[in-house]
């Protein structure tokens, strides 16, 4: 624990210089430095070492960097090529790779997997098309994993002052969970390695609302959640941050509400029973048949999908629709 009268270590001095200390600890270090020439001299030496490193780092490397023009043009062209390719490119690449190297067994496996995938996605597409007719029913449905397991993730907070909470705008706070902690959370939730990329480790109580980077405050939130997803939760966190800082809601209430049931808290603070971004009025007359027809045209084979990508000007629009309604974006 830092005290104004004890000399901070070099590590604490560097943390303070880099703005990585809590507001309270930073204040203690500042107060100490204003009184202690010895530590000010050490701080200056550390700063001088940083200046030296940055000078050496840039001195050789900057001179070696080629002008940006050529690589900019190259990237632009490659992006255009990539954008013109169907998003299932990677799936095709897998089949191509396996068929070239392991002709029989892997192709059989690939065909079987493709059949299962198609069956699964068809079900999703149909469910989602139905959801266009009945948005209210879908919007109130809570999918697996969008709320944490209370036993594993009850929420955890640290002591913070209102100044700590409100000194920085909510959107400026970007926190990424270290990979070791991420793995621990996934293990606790029994998520096998293969599916790790399908999850984002999210804070139940956001750091800016006093939440800690603690396994009790973290859970694997599925990317695939279509309605109550991480973005909706981000909106809630931002709303609560504003309400706490304007005095409309106490910090304790905000922490309790979000940790008890964040979806319930969203409904309470946005006064809605579905996420705001889904309530935009959309004229969906004929949309289901449009999507169905496009799917009907695209399902038969991979070659048909490939063909449509190059010839059908409506295909990009279908992809927008698919993404917008969270249908089966990754198959096209």
């Amino acid at each position: 624990m830092l005290h104004e009268n004890s000399h901070p270590t070099d590590q604490e001095l560097l943390l303070a210089a880099d703005g990585e200390l809590s507001a309270r600890s930073a204040r203690v270090v500042r107060t100490h430095l204003s009184a202690c020439w010895h530590c000010r001299a050490r701080m200056s030496e550390l700063e001088a070492a940083i200046v030296d490193f940055v000078r050496v780092h840039h001195q050789a490397l900057d001179a070696a960097l080629p002008p940006i023009g050529r690589s900019r043009a190259q990237l632009s062209a490659r992006l255009s090529d990539l954008a013109a390719k169907p998003e299932a490119n990677s799936v095709r690449g897998f089949f191509h790779f396996t068929s070239a190297r392991y002709p029989t067994a892997y192709v059989c496996f690939g065909l079987l997997s493709a059949s299962l995938l198609l069956a699964l996605l068809t079900g999703q597409a149909l469910r989602s098309i139905l959801s266009i007719h009945a948005p209210m029913a879908v919007a109130t449905t809570v999918e697996d994993g969008v709320e944490p397991n209370r036993k594993l993730t009850p929420g955890a907070t640290r002591p913070v002052s209102m100044h700590d909470v409100c000194a920085v705008a909510h959107e400026e706070v970007v926190v990424d969970v270290p990979s070791a902690l991420r793995e621990k959370i996934l293990r606790e939730y029994g998520i096998v390695e293969k599916r790790e990329s399908d999850f984002e480790i999210d804070f139940l109580i956001a750091p800016r609302l006093g939440g800690t980077e603690d396994p009790q405050n973290l859970w694997p939130e599925p990317y695939a959640s279509s309605i109550w997803n991480a973005r909706v939760k981000d909106d809630l966190e931002e709303r609560l941050h504003k309400m706490v800082c304007s005095g409309e809601v106490s910090l304790k209430t905000a922490q309790n509400d979000i940790s008890a049931d964040w979806i319930g808290a969203y409904k309470k603070y946005f006064n809605t029973d579905k996420p705001i971004n889904l309530t935009t009025t959309v004229d969906v007359s004929g949309l289901d048949s449009y999507v169905s027809k496009l799917f009907a045209k695209m399902w038969p084979s991979e070659s048909t999908i490939r063909e449509k990508s190059s010839h059908d000007p409506r295909r990009p629009m279908c992809q927008v629709l698919i993404r917008n309604y969270h249908l089966v974006g990754r198959i096209t």
Partner: protein
């Protein structure tokens, strides 16, 4: 059933909340303008050639395009860019069998430019000091070098921890240790 042709596509476009591809391409190009030089410097720090480092950077932004197109998390994209660059550069170095033989500091030693000071005595002193610093940096563990470089490119401790798969405490210890060594070298 209504024909596809009867649907107004512009009207449908207006309903879309996700950016279309051209928007994503523009977004990727904006990121490229901002992060190309820092990422290129970082890729060069793996001791690969400028050509290979440029290729790594291209791959990073192509991966970013796919990432954004798949509607994946946009949290900490700067850390994400450096993490992909780190992995790609490591892969490139391994593929090229350049591991360990060359480090960025070997490369820098060869390319570092002489101090422009007109006073020969000052120039000699500055050059000797730079050589001494480079010698210390070369002797640092590789992870410590990465930490320093990522910090020099403006990454916060959390971002560095995420790129290198370390804890926040380890990042802090690594940076303090490295700067301590630089300080001692300067005093000697």
């Amino acid at each position: 059933m209504e024909s596809i042709d009867h649907i107004s596509l512009p009207a449908l476009a207006a309903t879309a909340s996700s950016p279309d591809r051209s928007e994503i391409e523009c977004e990727v190009m904006r990121f490229f303008e901002e992060f190309r030089s820092p990422l290129l410097r970082y890729a060069l720090s793996f001791g690969i050639s400028v050509h290979d480092a440029e290729e790594v950077v291209q791959e990073v932004f192509l991966a970013l395009f796919l990432h954004l197109r798949s509607d994946k998390s946009r949290k900490n994209l700067r850390g994400w860019l450096f993490r992909v660059a780190h992995n790609q550069a490591l892969r490139k170095r391994t593929t090229l069998h350049q591991q360990v033989q060359t480090t960025s500091f070997d490369w820098m030693e060869a390319h570092i430019q002489a101090d422009p000071s007109p006073n020969p005595e000052e120039r000699l002193f500055a050059d000797q000091r730079t050589q001494r610093l480079v010698a210390v940096l070369k002797a640092l563990p590789e992870t410590d070098q990465y930490c320093l470089r990522l910090r020099a490119e403006g990454l916060r401790y959390r971002e560095i921890a995420s790129v290198l798969g370390m804890s926040l405490g380890s990042v802090s210890i690594s940076l303090t240790r490295s700067l301590g060594r630089l300080l001692r070298a300067d005093r000697s």
